[in-house]
């Protein structure tokens, strides 16, 4: 019933397979606080396109087509890999993206 993987491979942010029917495309990261969420959004803004439709759930798109969803009020961060990511590459790719997110947070604070 619970998620199958939990890992701190991203440095600051943990990575956990999220609920979905998309075979390892959706990954939840550990929660960040409100200040970190703002910093994360700011840090990603150079490389990611902001495609948010609402202030209450922000969606940023990676140049490779992956999305990062951030809930500012709770600090929830979710990685949505592009559907063309090969099956065997999905976990590695999620680790790579969470690494970028952690870098954007400058890895200076424990989560």
């Amino acid at each position: 019933m619970l998620a199958t993987r939990e890992d701190d491979s991203g440095g600051c942010l943990t990575l956990r397979l999220a609920h979905s029917c998309y075979r390892h495309l959706i990954w939840d990261c550990g929660l960040v606080n409100e200040e970190q969420a703002a910093r994360l959004l700011s840090g990603l803004s150079r490389r990611y396109a902001d495609e948010s439709r609402f202030a209450w759930v922000r969606e940023l798109t990676h140049p490779d087509g992956h999305s990062i969803v951030v809930v500012p009020r709770t600090g929830r961060v979710q990685i949505r890999l592009h559907y063309l990511t090969p099956h065997g590459e999905r976990e590695r790719c999620a680790r790579q993206v969470v690494g970028e997110l952690s870098a954007a947070l400058r890895c200076c604070e424990p989560v």
Binding site: L2, V57, T74
Partner: protein
């Protein structure tokens, strides 16, 4: 001809039935869609079941496409075909390519919702022997009919190969036919309003209303991606024609009643189970999504709140103005609504029923009670088939009884769910 966008075509009645260009429409996920189609094929066999599903798709797609082409100002066949293909994609049903004239032709589908989703869900475990895309086939037939100004039923469609059967794409043949179906009563907004009772407020209305409005605003922007699929809330979502669900359900019931009446109860139970499948997967997926968390906040394990959330979701998905008429934790939950997509269809096509027939609504109400009381939402469970089995098979501790029914002449429909 203006650019096609679903949002201006979508309208909710004040009683929360949803319409797309005047056709009753709802949002349902691939789990529900596959389960209901399979139920029909189990009842009638894959050949008869497939034929019924194709005809139902053709009928309601024809009405939809006529209305959308009129609204878009699409008058010429190429314009109408373009509208049809784009609408199909936006609704989350995949991509269709049509090469046909009034005398027939072919359609090719890529990422068709049913075939693709079936392959994703079962393809590694089960070898499917029959094509899965009756909806896409019927839609393709309707697109040709509307594009060339043909009568409803003038075009037959048969899916010859399907990705669910491990083919590289879905291939559909289209043939002109002289054997037209008997016209059936049209179901639009006026017919729905005639079968709708007075709107009421229930418990938790201060929670339900704002969330429902927020969800409606969110889903207004939901549309198929470049594949024609909607990946949202952990499932593949479609905006679908309620008439399709209703016709395949009620025609299958009628056929089973005529041929093997002792099996009618089994089919009714499976239609109820479609409500469990929807609530578990779609409602559960919405509750676990970041979008929900952003709109509403973190989940709490409070049955009353979860039921209130379910009412909000039901309204936003176009199922009707569901209210919590009564709630006693661990004991009793009463869902009431002034309309449902099942009752609208039944009243328009068949009139007054001897007994309640809102099977989906009955199953959904029971499933909501189970999800509200038995799921530890704060642990963010994975909504797996195993977890579904655990929750809904082998002794569900609830009983759902429909005590009032619009189809029986009551002003509202009411499901009373009590602890066994």
């Amino acid at each position: 001809m203006s650019e096609l966008n679903l949002s201006p075509l979508r309208r909710y009645l004040p009683e929360d039935l949803m319409f797309l260009a005047g056709q009753p429409a709802v949002y349902h996920c691939h789990h529900f869609n596959l389960f209901l189609d399979q139920t029909i094929d189990d009842a009638l066999g894959p050949e008869l079941g497939g034929r019924l599903r194709t005809r139902a798709a053709r009928e309601f797609s024809h009405h939809l496409l006529q209305a959308v082409c009129a609204k878009q100002g699409a008058e010429l066949p190429p314009e109408r075909l373009q509208v049809a293909l784009e609408l199909f994609r936006l609704m989350g049903h995949g991509r269709l390519h049509l090469d046909a004239s009034p005398s027939g032709g072919a359609a090719r589908g890529t990422h068709l919702h049913y075939g693709f989703a079936w392959h994703e869900k079962y393809g590694q475990k089960v070898r499917r022997l029959d094509p899965a895309d009756a909806f896409g086939s019927g839609y393709a037939a309707a697109a040709i009919e509307v594009a060339f100004g043909l009568r409803l039923g003038a075009m037959n469609a048969h899916e010859q190969s399907c990705v669910a059967m491990r083919a590289p794409a879905c291939d559909i043949t289209l043939d002109a036919t002289q054997t037209l179906e008997e016209p059936r009563p049209f179901i639009g907004e006026a017919e729905a309003e005639a079968a709708t009772g007075p709107a009421e407020n229930g418990l938790f209305e201060d929670i339900i209303g704002p969330i429902s409005n927020g969800l409606k605003e969110f889903t207004a922007g939901v549309a198929g991606d470049e594949r024609g699929l909607v990946q949202a809330f952990g499932v593949f979502v479609t905006m679908h024609l309620a008439g399709y669900y209703n016709r395949i359900s009620f025609d299958a019931l009628e056929a089973v009643r005529a041929q093997s009446p002792h099996s009618e109860g089994v089919l009714a139970d499976l239609l109820r189970e479609s409500g469990h499948v929807c609530v578990f997967n779609t409602f559960g997926g919405i509750l676990l999504s970041p979008e929900w968390e952003g709109l509403v906040g973190p989940l709490v394990d409070d049955p009353g709140q979860i039921l209130a959330f379910c009412m909000a979701m039901g309204r936003a998905l176009g199922f009707g103005r569901w209210i919590v008429a009564d709630f006693q934790p661990e004991r009793r939950f009463v869902l009431r609504t002034p309309c449902s997509y099942e009752s609208t269809y039944y009243r328009t096509r068949f009139g007054i029923a001897e007994r309640p027939v809102e099977y989906f609504l009955q199953g959904a109400a029971l499933a909501m009670a189970q999800l509200a009381h038995r799921v530890h939402w704060t642990a963010r469970p994975q909504l797996t088939p195993e977890y579904y089995q655990q929750l809904f098979k082998g002794g569900v501790p609830w009983r759902a009884e429909q005590t009032r029914a619009i189809v029986c002449g009551a002003p509202v429909s009411e499901i009373v769910v009590t602890r066994v």
